[in-house]
C-alpha cells in the first residue's frame, strides 16, 4: 500500500475513481462525436476554458484597476492606500457594474440584436425590447446602489469601526423591476 502510494501519489481508490470518471467522459465524447461534428465540439469545449481563464478573468482585474484609479485617485496604485470612503464608492460602483455586465454577458444575443432571426421565427416577437430593458435594469441597479451609498456616507458608515462596509447592505432580494 505504501509503495503504491509512493509511486502513484494516492490510494488505489483515488486511481479507480479517476479512471471511472475518465471512462464515463470518454463514452460521452464518443457519443457526442457520433452526433458530430467533432472538430467544432472540441474547439468550443477547449475554447470555453481559454476564453474564460485567459480572457474573462484578466478582464475582471483590469476593470478593477481602472475603477480604482478613477475612484481612489492619487495613491491608488497601491490599493492599500485607497481611503475607506473611496473604497465605499468603488464598491457601490462595481457591484451594479458587475451585475449589469453579467446580464450583458449572458443575454448579449438579445441585447445586441444578434438572435433576431431565430427568435422571431420561434416566438413571432422581436428582440428589440431587450436592449432598453437591459439599460433600464442597469440604470435601476446603479440608482439603487447610489441611494444606498448616499445613505451610508451621510451616516458616516465609511468609518472602520461602524457597520458593514461591503455591499451586503443591499442584501439578496428581487432586483428592481424595469
Amino acid at each position: 500500500m505504501r509503495r503504491f502510494s509512493a509511486l502513484y501519489g494516492s490510494s488505489p481508490a483515488h486511481l479507480l475513481l479517476a479512471l471511472a470518471a475518465l471512462v464515463v467522459s470518454a463514452w460521452a465524447v464518443v457519443q457526442a462525436f457520433g452526433q458530430g461534428p467533432p472538430l467544432s465540439l472540441t474547439k468550443w469545449f477547449v475554447g470555453s476554458i481559454l476564453a474564460h481563464d485567459l480572457v474573462l478573468l484578466p478582464i475582471y482585474s483590469l476593470v478593477l484597476i481602472g475603477l480604482l484609479r478613477v475612484v481612489g485617485g492619487r495613491g491608488a496604485q497601491n490599493r492599500a492606500e485607497a481611503s475607506p470612503r473611496g473604497l465605499l464608492v468603488l464598491n457601490h460602483l462595481r457591484v451594479p457594474a458587475a451585475l449589469s455586465l453579467l446580464m450583458l454577458l449572458l443575454f448579449f444575443p438579445f441585447i445586441l440584436g444578434l438572435a433576431d432571426a431565430g427568435y422571431e421565427g420561434v416566438s413571432g416577437l422581436s428582440t428589440d425590447p431587450y436592449l432598453p430593458r437591459w439599460l433600464i435594469l442597469s440604470g435601476a441597479l446603479f440608482l439603487l446602489s447610489g441611494l444606498i451609498l448616499v445613505v451610508r456616507l451621510v451616516r458616516g458608515g465609511a468609518s472602520t469601526a461602524r457597520g458593514p462596509s461591503g455591499s451586503a447592505a443591499e442584501g439578496p432580494g428581487a432586483p428592481p423591476a424595469g
Binding site: Q35, R79, N91, G124
Partner: protein, 442 residues
C-alpha cells in the same frame, strides 16, 4: 467518519515521487505572490461550492428527467440520436400523463437553477484560479489525473452552461447540434464533478471547521483578514488590503444569483409573474386576446401554407380502419375542455384553456380502443413535425386534439386547424397543424 475515510482514500500523498519533466517558469501568474486578493482561500471556495452543488444537482436531475420525458425510444421522438448503453434505462421509463404540470415544473427548475448557478460558478472559478498556475505543475501521477479531471470539469461546466444560455435565446454561433452536445457535456460534467467532490470534501470540512461556516461573513471590510497561505494554493502569500469584505463579495454574487433565478421563474410560472422575466426569453406579453400567449414556432417559419389549413383540410385517422374528418365534423363530436400547460424544454410555460376532441374518442372511431402508441404527423415537414405518444398519454381523458383555445378558434400560429395537447407532455410534442393520427397496437 466519512470525511476521514475520504481523506485517507483520496488524499494526495506528500511523499510521492514528483513526475519528471520541465516545470513552469517562476514568473508572472505562476508565482503565488502574483495573486493579491485577500479574499481567496479554502473557506470562500467551500462556501461558494456549498451553494453551487445543490443547484448543479437540481440541473442534472431535471436535465436527465427531461430526456426521459421525451420518450426517445418511441418513433422519431429522439433528439439526441442513439442512447447507446443507456437505451434499456430510457426504454423502461415511460413518461406518464399524470400530473399535468410535471414537465413545466421540471424544466422551470432546470433553467431557474441553471441561471442562478452561473454567478456562483464564475465566482468559484475566480476564487480558485491561482491553482491553474500552480507549481510544480505535476506533483505525482495522482496529481496529474486530478488536474486532467479539473480540465474536464471546468471545460464541461462552462460548455454546458453557455450552450444552455445561448439555446434559450435561439442563438447558435457554433456549428454543432445543441441537444446532444449539451446532454453529453453534462455526462462529462457529472463524472468529473463526482471525482472532484470526493477528493475535495475533506478540504471543505476542514475549512468550515477551522473558520466556521458563516463566521467570516460577519467581518466588515476593515477587519477582513486573508486565509493563511499554507491552507491552500489558492490562498495568497502576499495579499493586499481588502477592497471589499467577504460578505460584500458573497452578497453581490447572491444578488446576481437571486435576480437571474427570479427572471427565469417569471417566464416559467407566467401569468401575473411574467413581467419578472425582464431579460428572460419569454418575458414579453403578446396581448389580451384568447390567442395572445407564447407562440412556439410561427406558422411561417414552419413553412405552413394557408391553403393547407383552409376548407380542404382533413384529419386523417388510421388504426383498425381509416377515415377522414373535416374540421366541421370534428366540431360536431362531443368536445372536452381542459386547462393544460404548454411547457417548453427551454424552461418557460403558459397555461391555457383548450377545447377539442379527446384523443381516445378518436382512437375508438379509428377502431383502436387502447392504443400502445399514437403517431402524430404535422403539416410541418421537419424533424420535429412528428410525435409518438405512449399509451398513458394517448388514453388519458384530458389528452385532446384541440380545436379552440380560450373559447376562440386556434390561431394559425397556435396550430390551426388542430393541435395536440396532452398533460405533462414536453411542449414540442404537442404537435401543431395536425394532419394525421395513427393509432397503433391493442
Amino acid at each position: 467518519m466519512l470525511i476521514r475515510l475520504l481523506q485517507r482514500a483520496f488524499g494526495i500523498d506528500p511523499e510521492a515521487k514528483p513526475l519528471p519533466g520541465p516545470q513552469p517558469p517562476d514568473r508572472g501568474p505562476f508565482r503565488r505572490d502574483f495573486w493579491r486578493s485577500p479574499l481567496r482561500g479554502p473557506w470562500l471556495a467551500s462556501l461558494l461550492s456549498s451553494a453551487l452543488l445543490p443547484l448543479i444537482l437540481i440541473c442534472a436531475l431535471t436535465g436527465f428527467v427531461s430526456h426521459v420525458a421525451y420518450d426517445s425510444e418511441l418513433g422519431a421522438n429522439s433528439v439526441t440520436g442513439d442512447d447507446g448503453l443507456l437505451t434499456p434505462i430510457y426504454a423502461a421509463l415511460d413518461w406518464p400523463a399524470g400530473w399535468a404540470w410535471l414537465y413545466a415544473v421540471n424544466q422551470g427548475l432546470h433553467v431557474i437553477a441553471g441561471l442562478a448557478a452561473i454567478p456562483i460558478l464564475l465566482a468559484k472559478l475566480w476564487t480558485v484560479i491561482p491553482k491553474l498556475w500552480e507549481r510544480p505543475a505535476l506533483r505525482s501521477l495522482a496529481h496529474a489525473l486530478e488536474r486532467v479531471s479539473l480540465a474536464l470539469l471546468v471545460g464541461a461546466s462552462l460548455f454546458v452552461f453557455f450552450t444552455g444560455v445561448l439555446n434559450i435565446q435561439i442563438y447558435y454561433p457554433f456549428g454543432f447540434g445543441f441537444v446532444p452536445a449539451h446532454y453529453y457535456g453534462a455526462f462529462i460534467f457529472m463524472a468529473a464533478l463526482t471525482f472532484h467532490v470526493a477528493i475535495k470534501l475533506p478540504d471543505l470540512a476542514r475549512a468550515f471547521r477551522e473558520r466556521g461556516v458563516v463566521a467570516p461573513l460577519r467581518e466588515d471590510r476593515a477587519s477582513t483578514r486573508p486565509e493563511p497561505p499554507e491552507s491552500s494554493e489558492s490562498a495568497p502569500t502576499a495579499p493586499r488590503a481588502a477592497t471589499i469584505s467577504r460578505r460584500g463579495f458573497v452578497g453581490a454574487v447572491g444578488l446576481g444569483s437571486v435576480g437571474l433565478g427570479l427572471m427565469a421563474a417569471g417566464q416559467s410560472v407566467g401569468g401575473p409573474l411574467r413581467p419578472l422575466g425582464l431579460l428572460a426569453p419569454r418575458g414579453q406579453y403578446y396581448g389580451t386576446g384568447p390567442n395572445d400567449f407564447q407562440v412556439n414556432k410561427t406558422a411561417t417559419s414552419a413553412g405552413i401554407m394557408p391553403a393547407q389549413t383552409g376548407a380542404s383540410w382533413r384529419l386523417e385517422l388510421r388504426g383498425g380502419r381509416t377515415l377522414e374528418l373535416s374540421r366541421e365534423e370534428l366540431l360536431r363530436l362531443p368536445l372536452s375542455t381542459q386547462k393544460l400547460p404548454i411547457a417548453c424544454v427551454e424552461g418557460w410555460s403558459t397555461t391555457q384553456t383548450w377545447t377539442g376532441v379527446p384523443l381516445r374518442d378518436l382512437g375508438r372511431l379509428a377502431g383502436v380502443d387502447d392504443p400502445d402508441e399514437l403517431f402524430v404527423q404535422s403539416l410541418q415537414e421537419a424533424v420535429l413535425g412528428q410525435t409518438t405518444l405512449n399509451n398513458s398519454q394517448a388514453s388519458d381523458p384530458r389528452s385532446l386534439l384541440a380545436l379552440r383555445v380560450n373559447g376562440a378558434d386556434l390561431s394559425l400560429n397556435h396550430g390551426f386547424p388542430a393541435r395536440i395537447i396532452v398533460p405533462a407532455l414536453p411542449g414540442v410534442h404537442n404537435t401543431k397543424w395536425v394532419q394525421r393520427l395513427e393509432f397503433r397496437g391493442a
